[in-house]
Amino acid sequence: MPSERFSYGGRDPLSPSALPFLPATLIGTDAQVPVSALVDSGAAINVLPYDVGLQLGYDWDANAMPISLTGNFAPSEAKALIVKAKVGRFPEVEFAFAWTTRNDIPVILGQVNFFQEFDVRFFGGRREFEIAR
């Protein structure tokens, strides 16, 4: 199974609190947007910030599939969105996102469906993680 390893990233990659950010390119209707997405095994779902969805060319009002958020995203509206993505050298993959009205978050890759598509190993002591598909 092909795999690829990445270093932890974010604002301060050398900090003890650095996080596993994955470089990826999201492919929308109008544009391709490079993102640094948080690989979050504790996240039930993938989450897309509002502005990234707009940059990709999606229309909030045209999207009719609402998603109910009940956890710490509870006050936010969200809609389901399928977005193609290119991750490393892997073939293109489709991610199902809860597209939120929030912008104070990174792109989050969670159990549905990033962790369904990729096997992930964390090497926290080395500040690295590996994905395989």
Partner: protein, 87 residues
Amino acid sequence: MSLSEVLPSIRALNRQDKLRLIELLAKDVATSGRGQDDADGQQGKPALDMETLVGREHPVWTPYNESEAAEQLNTYLVAHQGKNHAE
């Protein structure tokens, strides 16, 4: 320089300077103890810097407790993939 060489000088310090030395050494171990960690076989492990952890904001974005949203997204994805296969 070995500990036995510097120990007499350290013992000669007054109480206040000893306390300052303890504080300095604690900080030094926390922030630049990586070399020692390597020697202890924990190569590559970043030093635990309590000042970095305590003095900054660490937002937690994780959408936990979202089983209903996960169900909805999964259903949406399966329907989407089924539609694509049918076409």
